[in-house]
Symmetry: C2
């Protein structure tokens, strides 16, 4: 009889694992059943803001692989609208609730892949029955929001609470749809994923697009009228609105895992080893937004819910389930985002993170351009480097620019991954031609300035 | 009395060296005199094609620092139109010909910085007195060409001989000016700086723009009429033309150096040590297009005339002349070029170079996109990796794409610089967001395919 793999969660991590396991083991050897409580599999959650804004016209474009593809091309039995509501590690069974049929069944497994993703953070004030309050975590969430935006009466005003990646992307998406948008940020500035001196460039760009940004403001409650949200009440007054977006970040979706006794780490994510095995629980694997992972620079566990990690981790788990050997090497905190045509990239540690990890460091910021100054279309680019003192080892980098900026963070990410010092970096042989860079690439200019700062 | 530094050549390498030396030593301590035979200092030779095409409107935009800036802000005595015609290492003097005044003087030096750059390769057939034959090496060359293009009668046809970087950039520039352009390439394809399977994408793009590309064709002579070039004669017939561009590459400009007994290496470039000291000749330094340098991957000396190296090497020489310590770490062959909106990047070794260096290797090519497939503006991107067998160490990489492609080579350049294996590379934490990359960055997709190829 074939071994039976059950996958909880039909998005990036779970379906990557399933596909990799299948690549190595045929249907005679390994039966794969995946349960997904939503209506979609293998979609790009990161693409939702662009579908909301209208930049991506068709929801189906966000779906990489349909259940039918998984079934017919990969022999993976995907069951949509099936929510796993219990894990019995002793009997090796999951309890599954069929959301369409309403029945509950138990399904046997030999191997379990836990890939339940993340859930939007919901503070007490956000737990309301009023309609018009949306997370943007799943494609079902996105569909509900699109339904609300297209329904009669069409909403004209929106409040986005929280200025992380999803918050700023959604604020922009809604402005581009013609809504009047207020973004509420508890801290000093939105985009706290970069240092304040870099984040202020983003704040300025968003204000330029017409987003009403209110910082240092905390939401206390939501008011409703006729069952619909109508007002966001804050410690600095009330804001009337037709809808509310929760952009407060996400938490690992571990309710089921915790109930079954899977180990959780200090970040709240499931603890896994290098091969994505759930630590100490034989035959159970986990990957994606529900796990915590190692930050290679700080050496600390972190929860970084990004599709790129989910795909890599799922692939690693699947190779191992398939009988191969793969490990996940950890993360260094690389991320890029587009905000109002401004491009933002980061890798490694921010100043605050570096301080918390116990590093001593210097920071430098340089202004340069994306192309040779004389070449048409050259735009400003700001590069920040954080380097350990006195070793000079690169600890973190941030880039903000108007074009061709964000992906340059990869150059710095690879330097950081290899533990280069800023002094080593000044020698790097990077591509130069006037349409693409000044003769001293902004990355090199920044490295030189960091070397000078270390010498002082 | 102040030490006296004489700089031969007033462009990137020479003036970077002068500026760095000045940063560390005041005018009381170090007198700096720079001789430049042309009319300009510190300009971007790489920008000339864009000024020819009209994309850059003003020649002065290409000049980073004028002689006046050098003089007033840096205390560097720059003498334009002064050609050094002899070096006397025993008497520590240079013989200088004042091209405007016609006089010749001898100038004493304590320290000599040789930065005479490169000269266009001129086969026998190109040594003609006929007007209308141009190299594109210096800004004076560029000015002469612009003069020819703007003069009456305006040329309508051009022949570019040689399909390297300068050749393809000039072919495009002239097409954009409205000329009918033929490009003659002796080999199978232009852009032999990448492998043939990548170069054919460039050939197709250039033909798409209307460049008449003739490959496997060799020029045998030039015909002239009334002192002007009128025809390029080849082994496959003649091509009538109004001007000829020499795009056959450049050679280190070492005539003077050789006459003075400075050591030349196997590439014809001056041999220098890690600090840019001319090997075995005390007090003499060299940098830029006239020197040969170490290729870090092949371990062989190479001549790579690029502004980015000239600037870095000049800086290193200048820091050392100034009493500091710096070394030049060698090159890995990174280069980017824009051809007819196609973006081309390379780093490390091509297949042929890898073979010549004695490596065994596998090559893989993947097709991916610059952005998430569903994000507007996603364009095709082709990535090629060459990895040592069996170690998996990255030896070379090439990228061709339609947008946001070229500078991604830097990610691979840094990986290669750090001697990463393709297996290590699959774990890299690179930036992901739909406007900038698919969830599996093209670089990662290529690394995965290379790992598979190595396993076969």
């Amino acid at each position: 009889m074939a071994e039976r793999l059950i996958v909880i969660g039909g998005d990036a991590a779970g379906m990557s694992a399933a596909a990799q396991a299948r690549r190595r083991r045929g249907t005679d050897d390994l039966e794969i059943v995946a349960f997904e409580r939503g209506h979609f599999t293998s979609y790009s959650a990161c693409g939702i803001p662009y579908w909301i804004s209208g930049l991506v016209t068709d929801r189906e474009q966000l779906v990489t692989r349909s259940p039918r593809t998984h079934r017919e091309d990969f022999g993976i039995d995907v069951r949509l609208r099936h929510e796993v509501v219990g894990i019995d590690l002793v009997r090796r069974e999951v309890v599954v609730h069929d959301l369409s049929g309403g029945v509950e069944v138990r399904e046997r497994f030999d191997t379990l892949m836990y890939a339940a993703g993340a859930v939007p953070k919901k503070p007490a004030w956000a737990r309301t029955d009023a309609a018009g309050v949306f997370g943007v975590q799943t494609l079902d969430d996105g569909s509900a929001l699109r339904g609300w935006l297209d329904a009669d009466p069409q909403p004209r005003r929106a409040v986005v609470v929280g200025g992380g990646y999803i918050g700023v992307e959604m604020a922009e998406a809604l402005v581009r749809r013609g809504l009047s948008v207020t973004l509420i940020e508890r801290g000093e500035q939105p985009m706290s994923t970069v240092d304040p001196d870099m984040a202020r460039l983003v704040t300025a760009a968003m204000r330029g697009l017409g987003v009403d940004i209110r910082t240092g403001v905390q939401v206390t409650s939501l008011s409703e009228r006729d069952g619909r949200v109508c007002e966001v009440v804050t410690d600095h007054g009330s804001i009337p609105t037709d809808l509310v977006i929760l952009g407060l970040g996400v938490s690992p979706n571990t309710e089921l895992a915790a109930a079954a006794g899977l180990p959780l780490g200090p970040t709240g994510g499931i603890r896994v080893d290098r091969r994505m095995r759930v630590s100490g629980v034989p035959g159970v694997w986990a990957a994606g937004d529900c796990v915590e992972t190692l930050h290679k620079v700080s050496g600390l566990p972190v929860h970084v819910p990004l599709g790129t990690h989910a795909n890599k981790q799922g692939r690693v788990a699947g190779i191992n389930i398939g009988g191969g050997y793969a490990t996940f090497g950890g993360v260094i905190g690389t991320a890029v985002v587009k905000v109002c045509d401004l491009e933002v990239g980061r890798t490694g540690l921010r100043e605050r993170e570096a301080r918390m990890a116990g590093f001593e460091f210097v920071s430098v910021i340089v202004e340069s351009t994306s192309r040779a100054g004389y070449y048409p279309g050259a735009r400003q680019m700001t590069v920040k480097l954080i380097a350990e003192r006195p070793s000079g080892r690169l600890l973190g980098a941030q880039i903000v620019g108007w074009s061709e900026a964000a992906k340059r963070i990869d150059t710095l990410a690879v330097a950081l991954w290899n533990e280069m010092t800023v002094d080593d970096m000044t020698a790097l042989d990077l591509g130069y031609a006037p349409p693409y860079a000044p003769v001293w690439d902004p990355v090199l200019v920044a490295a030189r300035k960091a070397v000078d700062a270390l010498a002082r």
